[in-house]
Symmetry: C2
Subunit: 214 residues, 2 copies
């Protein structure tokens, strides 16, 4: 389960190890798909990031689409793993919302390419490669919290559906835009530990304030 997060996904690879190479390819593919999406991704580019031959992709994943599916699979799993264990029914709407956001942001901070992958899939392929539409199920959870908060008059009157989208935007837009729009203040890297935790706090504070009564 250990993951290499370096740019050049390299490894000793002196001997033959099926699971190892498979993981290496998967990591490289994640990078490539996160930048380009399914169609524009180049299998050659993925192979180049690794130290293995291009044909290994086809050996392990059948074809480019298969590899893409595997990448989505993992993203999907990571997200569910972060959200599902939460018990959000019992806590107050405020607490539930904060817990939810903290879990979500924590997850994507550890997998910063996740939002971009999901977004590209949504835009380019209309989510046809998502079995159960991850984002849908996550949105549902968030909407439920918001509905409860409005009903109990703890939150201001707002549209739960629209607000769920807006909150997700607050949390995820950072990752979509920033890895790439490098006009960052005084050379701070957007994915550094400091910046990530700052974003986490800012996004939560902003969201909580955003639903609060005035």
């Amino acid at each position: 389960m250990a993951e290499t997060k370096s740019e050049k996904v390299k490894q000793t690879k002196s001997v033959r190890d099926a699971e190892a190479t498979k993981a290496i390819i998967l990591a490289a593919a994640e990078e490539e798909f996160a930048q380009h999406g399914l169609t524009a991704a180049r299998t050659e580019a993925i192979a180049a990031k690794t130290q293995v031959a291009k044909s290994m992709i086809y050996y392990y994943f059948k074809d480019k689409e298969g590899l893409y599916r595997a990448v989505l699979e993992r993203s999907h799993a990571h997200l569910l793993q972060a959200i599902q264990p939460l018990d959000l029914e019992t806590a107050s709407p405020e607490v539930a919302l904060e817990q939810f956001l903290r879990a979500l942001l924590d997850c994507v901070s550890r997998n910063p390419k996740l939002p971009t992958i999901m977004f590209l899939e949504a835009v380019q392929n209309q989510g046809k490669y998502y079995k159960n539409s991850t984002s849908a199920s996550i949105d549902t959870v968030l909407i439920a919290i918001l509905e409860r908060g409005v009903k109990t008059e703890i939150f201001r009157p707002l549209d739960p559906f629209q607000s769920a989208i807006n909150i997700m935007g607050t949390c995820l837009f950072y990752f979509i835009g920033t890895g790439n729009i490098q006009q960052f203040p005084q050379g701070k890297r957007p994915l550094s530990k400091a910046m990530l935790s700052q974003h986490l706090e800012e996004a939560i504070a902003f969201s909580l304030a955003g639903v609060q009564k005035i």
Copy 2:
């Protein structure tokens, strides 16, 4: 300047009209690039949306990249046209923020593909096709408003840079995700007039509440 916004960008086109066909191609290209980005966009698909031959693209725009540049150009122009005329220095931070957001959301509501185009360009090409990086200059305006609001203690203490991103996310994420993730409540279309104006109000309310003192 009139624009066709139908799916099938068709026209009478009985006679030869340079500017007309050029506009038709541009409109179709906007659609295609908004969904796929530069690399994954297919010139054949663009031609298919129009009624003109594929070679017309090359006649008018030199190559696929030239066409792409033209599309970005227009997006760029629309955005600047919406933001630049505003006088945001004199008004109070609250009013300035609302004016800014209203102008921004009004602009993208009329050009709903704009956020996706910008986002794809940022992710896939790191913004290398943006001359002056539109998003940067717009962000700068927003950051200035936030800084002023914090300094005058009208807004809560927040990081202007991070908050600018979060606010942009609140406003734009809707357009990035929704045209495609059709799991919309009871068949409401995300780009209908009603939904767009609802999003405008919700996003503004959410953003204003988000910067407010608690």
